[in-house]
Symmetry: D2
Subunit: 435 residues, 4 copies
């Protein structure tokens, strides 16, 4: 539990022996942060210990739990990790496992029971299996640790060659690794000390389109991550350019809510020809706001988080870009800050379509009732938050921004999950989630 | 994890709703104190959550683990609790459980697989099952919460009637309960809000003798606990009397290493006619001894723990009683303290037989190599620790002390486990523990 | 802040360099346990750092604070330690200190301003000054560290010769030191690496009697401490004997509330000829009692702390000895426990006189209103707590018990402070404390 | 000790009663972070408690300590706060204080003894004195809490009118206050519930120039703070413009090390006409780097902190702006990151002059030996870090950037401390700091 920098130190790192391992960090969401939900999940089996870590959420976890419980297995947590572990502990009926466990067969069996959504690593003895669900909903990529020195340092402190898998490629550089390729949807990759090989590619039911989460481009991934051969930053820049095409406005400067909207703001500026200028500076030391919230206190809370740079907004017509609007609580106070600092007009442009539907695949999105896009149309929202105008990027515009710079746009290999925007869930929703 | 007084407070106690529950405290032994080994162990089953707590240790846990793992169930800890839980999750082959789980049948099945050693509570919905292994190795007794006021207070703050089970009866008074009876060896008791009933008594294999841990009388239980109708204090007093008969000595005073040997010392004094007097006072605030131990530092450590009352030992021949000797590290420095305070002679009398064998049934006894009784005969030990003489109680003497005041001495119903003294393990040792 | 065993470990002990030092532990009383009140108090002066620790309480601290504050010195805490430190920082008016500070003169000046109550150590550079107030109200004694081995260990791990001072002698043995003598009332002792010497003995105002706190004998000191040439345990034994003379009763056994009353109980038994037997066993793991207290819950709380040994009290007339009664909250529930365990009669005998007055000299005694002896006469109290009779030791009896075995009973050298029993404060009460 | 958000919560905030108070947060620098150095420092005086907090560092603290110690006052810490407090406790010799303490006179006396560097608040009873040293080295400004609602919320949760002082104005908005004016160099302002008034303006010795710390503009202050009537952000923008004039270069894009150099980068882009584009994205979750550092590990550490946005630097000639260079450890690895991401040329431009001298006035600057500007000339440094060129802003250029947009450039009222750049310390260095 806790930040890696609090958990590990030189001594604990030195105690880690051996030549392979798996780890996990989680985007901490309130209730679920309990020690029993920590990963990797280690389970003892008849064939020795197995460690499991995953990114994502099993959409049919309730029915899958019933299958396991009715087999007479007790579950001590409500975590997907334990559920996946107990699924993998049970060998497929027809397999003979004289020579030890047939992990690929066990993983394949699990993938048949659980269509999505997960990227998964399974470690047993001297092997790690890296698995991506057959829809490719969550990202997973492979890197290679290279023994060259990166600076003018002595070569002897460089590690030997090695292999890594990760949800995002952006961390590779900081461990001296280079991006190699993505794990394919449905692919089971076996990694050892010596390299990796594809042991199987499990097919999607009914040959439906791939469904990579489009919100990884919009919001989740770090800007310098690469998906599908392109850098996330360039997609966000492109979203801003597309937004300038779809919703132009006469203005003096383009700016952003730092730092989430900055890439798109630069794109909007480039396409529209309106100069970019910073209008908000961010306070890095914001804690929580005390005492029960009220409109006044929310306003003060935003003023604690952001300071207005009046030198850039005084007397100006401002296009203000943000990457998305969820509950719509902060944009109003931000606009008030800008107006107090002298902005003549504030036009809000959101570099993604309206968020309208819940996600059951690992993204923490509030209920439909809390999503402001289900309560107010763009014009009503503009009025509610005190903007001169407010526009979203269209769904088609977003897809265009994602695909425009890609070589491969074959829809089978490169479809997207847009469920939170359109309500179209890949493979349909399981009965247990009907709403 | 931690002391109950650190874990609970008024607020957390008030949050506990409902009318039944189970809890567990453990005699903390070094390595095993990890949060995953905390009890109760809660497990989700096809029939809802089940909570399990137990006292004792499964002697055949290794073979039992293999049975569970080969059924395709993963185990996430090495604790007996989880193992018991997964055993109970699996319904007996031939049972039809249309109307919900048949817990007595499941518990019976577990008891057949695991002969000893445990006292066990299993909570499911509105019932608690209290179970004692068929050898009765570990204690378990039933109490009744009584709604009368205990002092001149107002009656309204007294709880309604209720029922409790516990390893030791000594805690009953402090929750306003009265001792009712012991759970019988092999008995499965079902407890509800309204009372308790015996649902089964599982028989011992081959009608061997009952094997209640005799060290509960010698060392573990609190003095005011009642086992088999007699108070532990009176057994300890009797051990001292028996010791006076077996190993008399001419002396001026009888005394004890406080507080473990005090009851036996009073017994020795009563039987021998030699007056009792305190020779050591105990420092309640002893922490650990810093810096690597040496003979000198061990001496200082004992001087930190005990002060000699020279007023009582100056010029006296002292009989010094202790309840047991394990590693024999502290008795030497204690004798030196007494001699420095003026004692003319120090005769050590130990109110239990020599400890020679390991225990696999829940009692933390060092390895055979560390047990001083396996290294030195009593006379050698007397010499080693600087005593004028040193005698143990005999095994027969201990059994006499335990049985002399009991009405019922039927050996089938009232045998004892003396494995740590004699090496005779009840039911024999499983192959996995052969040494 | 905290227990020494939590604050220090091998590493931190090893880091302590040098050949002299002072330390302090405090009997933690609620509100005053703040880090600013921790001792030793270190203060930087024109002559370098000085460290100060003391035991006791300045009765005229309010007027002394005014003196310091009006000199233009700010005080950052309300602790006596800081006040003593600032008094010592100020050199006496008429002294010339060309060759460095004249600490004895500074200490003498402080002692004139503050008559009582304190034992004090002041460390500066390579010297420690040990000081006892001129009434000798608080204890202080000198010990010598001896380089001999205490056991059969190697001599090389023994420290060189050295000197120690301490409030109680009982700790000397555990650091390998031997008791040498007490610091005299008013004495200023200078200690260095090579030994100690008396630099002055400050006289009491008006040659009044010495006033050593008699409650050190009754309650505070550990039994194996030596004051005035006699062991505290033997005074407590004597108190029990005196009590048997003053308040005899026909009974079957004498017993005690463990462990505070045990020494006196053995004395009562010895004098009366009635045998001693334990009737209560103490639970070492008692935490706090949850939920607001009521009579019932206090009863349960006492039942959590003590278990009755019915084997010894069934059908018996019991004399129950305790060392003192303060608020009188626990004796009632204890008597109830004994009656429930079968005691026929319970006669309470308290081995000290009734506590009636507050202490301003370092002993934490509740307000007069809370002291039960100010509310109920002994017979009323017997009735209130359900005892068959209840008697206190007389003040004269207590003084007899303290003096009977002493060689020197010169009242100038060996008077006692009995303020909490008689209201006679040594030297009279300062105006600021008049009540 | 610790982050405000960890120290306070709703309950603790609600417990704060009264209508005035002072607080303090510190830029935590290694060794000095001890609880005894926490502010405010509260001291009890003959006139009641006084609380003191300050920003800055007393350059003559050693000689000032000697004055206090020789007056017979002990100091328990090495903090400036306690030293200031004891100075203020001592009333000026010639003042009669019949009607309570004359705080302005005491503060004036302190200011005469301690020329710089501090902004100071002193709270006593119902008044707060706000003080700025006579050189105006550290900033201090006054704000007014306004009872209007800031958003469409209910007016009743707005506080009554009030007054605040702070080192930086940027926090005012987040507590609902508006900037009023700066405290003048040497000014003593008395604040009460009803307003504020100037009680004195203490003159600088010898009418030397004011000496406001120019590094507040360069590095310390938050961008949205206002000093001398201008926003810090606009000074930084101006520094970038000035840098473009002084050290132009042909390039394709201007970029910055986020976020410290971004304002200056926008200024450089504006002046040079070269477009701004982001080339680095910052990882917010960077902890420490484990294992002993080496060149390779420093490279990996920088790669953990920053990701290169290859989409913007591939094939480009990049001008990279940072606000300052101290030890010069990170700029090399950053340049390597950009080259690996395809940058054709990297020209470093630093928006401040070389840092060459230590600061004794509250700014934590390494020793002269550690400052890279004392070891390498700009061209050597360019070579050392792998830049195609490297230029600093000139001292005159920095002063121009600070003054160009100000109305008032009277050097008496608006000089700057540039000691860390030029070695010219305001008022000269006290003997104790000569190097």
């Amino acid at each position: 539990m806790g930040m890696i920098s609090n958990l590990f130190n030189d001594d604990s790192i030195k105690k880690l022996k051996g030549n392979l391992g798996i780890g996990h960090t989680r985007y901490s969401t309130s209730a679920a942060s309990e020690v029993v939900n920590c990963q990797p999940f280690v389970v003892h089996t008849a064939h020795g210990a197995v460690a499991i870590a995953h990114n994502g959420e099993l959409i049919n976890c309730e029915s899958l739990r019933r299958v396991v419980l009715e087999r007479g297995v007790g579950l001590s947590t409500h975590s997907d990790s334990e559920l996946i572990a107990q699924c993998l502990c049970c060998a497929p009926e027809d397999a003979s496992e004289h020579d030890g466990p047939d992990w690929p067969a066990r993983i394949r069996q699990f993938m048949t029971l659980a269509p999505l959504s997960y990227s998964l690593v399974v470690m047993h003895k001297d092997k790690i299996y890296a698995v991506r669900d057959s829809y490719g909903n969550r990202p997973l990529c492979i890197g290679k640790i290279v023994p060259i020195t990166l600076g003018p340092g002595k070569p002897e402190d460089a590690p030997a060659e090695g292999w890594v898998v990760s949800s995002e490629s952006c961390g590779f550089l900081s461990i001296g690794a280079r991006y190699v390729r993505e794990v394919e949807p449905g692919e089971i990759v076996e990694m050892t000390r010596n390299g990796f090989r594809t042991v199987d590619i499990v097919e999607r039911p009914d040959y439906k389109k791939m469904a990579f989460c489009i919100f990884e481009y919009v919001y989740f991934a770090r800007s310098d991550t690469t998906f599908e051969g392109q850098m996330v930053y360039s997609v966000r820049l492109q979203c801003g350019m597309q937004l300038a095409i779809e919703s132009p406005i006469e203005a003096d400067i383009v700016s952003s809510v730092p730092e989430s909207g900055t890439a798109a703001a630069h794109g909007y500026a480039r396409e529209s020809g309106i100069p970019f200028a910073e209008v908000l500076c961010k306070n890095r030391y914001v804690g929580r706001t005390f005492i029960q919230p009220s409109t006044r206190l929310r306003q003060l809370g935003v003023a604690k988080k952001f300071g207005a740079l009046s030198v850039n907004c005084e007397g100006k017509r401002v296009v203000l870009i943000d990457d998305s609007i969820v509950r719509g609580n902060t944009i109003g106070p931000i606009i008030k800050l800008l107006r107090d600092a002298g902005a003549k007009e504030v036009h809000v442009r959101i570099a993604s379509p309206p968020l309208k539907y819940p996600c059951y695949m690992g993204i923490n999105i509030p209920t439909r009732e809390e999503l402001i896009a289900n309560k107010l149309e763009p014009d009503e929202l503009a009025n509610h938050v005190g903007a001169d105008s407010l526009k979203y990027l269209s769904v088609d515009g977003l897809i265009t921004a994602v695909e425009i710079n890609k070589a491969n746009t074959n829809p089978i290999k490169a479809g997207y999950c847009t469920a939170c925007l359109t309500g179209e869930y890949p493979g349909g929703l399981p009965e247990e989630l009907s709403w």
